[in-house]
């Protein structure tokens, strides 16, 4: 199986271009040619000025997310052979994020949202290394394990219509990571994270469209994580309501 395919790429070089423009290339492909391979071919052979992010070539680093025919995909995990019958494939930078250059998106808003939910193990008291590991049973690990496969590639942000309309929405990856640590038996940071999940830009801005889970290259299922977060936020709301009724402080 081999052939050649027209690859149309959106170009934008802020120092030269007033607006994005399109450039087409004819790219030879064989069975194992990925979109990332096609971009590398273009840069090596056709036009060295093309910019795009990549690193690992094996769906671990999460750098090479692009829109392939309007669908958020990892370049390294998408193969030209699947588009053999198409007239062309069209590559654009990720939806819902600003363009820095060519296919390079500004992912700072996503990273800021992820940082907001404090996705790291938090312990109320620091333990000395001599105290040994904090152990966890396989059942305890199974609660969060699938959510820990996130590689921060941003495809879910490109897929999410709510993030597209409201960039303050914490978004699929951040809310999934919040859930991942809230479910971890070793973690004690839930109280610090819940106010962000409970807020108007937290879990409640999601209307369960579910496209994030469709496009996730690691099968993380952010939509499920967010809905679990809604249940947690609901419980938190009820507990807070009782606290208020008993004359306590609003939390």
């Amino acid at each position: 199986m081999s052939g050649s395919l027209k690859v149309r790429v959106q170009r934008y070089r802020p120092e030269e271009d007033d607006a994005p423009w399109w450039q087409s290339f004819e790219v030879p492909w064989s069975e194992d040619t990925s979109v990332l391979d096609a971009l590398n071919h273009i840069k090596d052979v056709e036009d060295g000025s093309l910019s795009y992010r990549w690193s690992c070539r094996m769906a671990i680093c999460g750098s090479c997310g692009v829109m392939v025919n309007d669908e958020p995909r990892l370049g390294c995990k998408t193969f030209l052979r699947h588009y053999a019958d198409a007239d062309e494939i069209v590559l654009r930078p990720l939806e819902n994020l600003a363009v820095e250059r060519d296919l390079v998106s500004d992912i700072d808003p996503m990273l800021a949202h992820i940082e907001t939910v404090q996705p790291w193990l938090q312990r109320e008291q620091a333990e000395a290394p001599e105290a040994g590991e904090t152990l966890q049973t396989p059942v305890q690990m199974a609660r969060y394990e699938s959510f820990s496969h996130c590689i921060n590639c941003g495809l879910c942000y490109a897929a999410c219509p709510q993030f597209g309309r409201n960039p303050d929405f914490l978004g699929p990856a951040a809310l999934t990571l919040a859930q991942r640590y809230n479910l971890d038996s070793r973690d004690e940071g839930r109280e610090a994270r819940m106010p962000f999940l409970n807020g108007e830009d937290g879990v409640w801005a999601c209307t369960f469209v579910g496209y994030c889970s469709d496009v996730c290259p690691k099968d993380v299922d952010p939509a499920a994580a967010i809905n679990q977060g809604k249940v947690a936020s609901n419980v938190n709301y009820a507990v807070n309501l009782f606290r208020l009724l008993r004359g306590g402080d609003d939390a």
């Binding site: 409970n198 108007e200 409640w204 469209v209």
Partner: protein
Amino acid sequence: MTRSLPRRSQEPVAWSLFGAGGMLLAFLGPALVLITLLVLPALLADDVAAGHAAVLAALRHPLGALLAFAGLSLTFFHTLHRLCHGLHDLHVPLSARLVGWVGYGTATLLSLLAGVWLLGL
């Protein structure tokens, strides 16, 4: 970069009613359709008046009335909640506040009407 603590969303109230309505519909809906459309008409085909009296007695019983009220009211809230979010997802250019007031207001009004109707039976 860390944010200041955001304002708590009041959505859990709407979502709880939506969830309860959805759960009730999923569990009771098919059974209700089966009973009211097929089983009861088949069983009571010979004596329609007795069937009417039995259903009326069930609805007049406090537990029956409560169940019927929950079935109606939660279904209203479930449906209107989805409609409100559906309007948002379809980019209908209305303020979320207005849609919320009209949507949940309609569900509240329909629930009140259902309650009044059940009490008056």
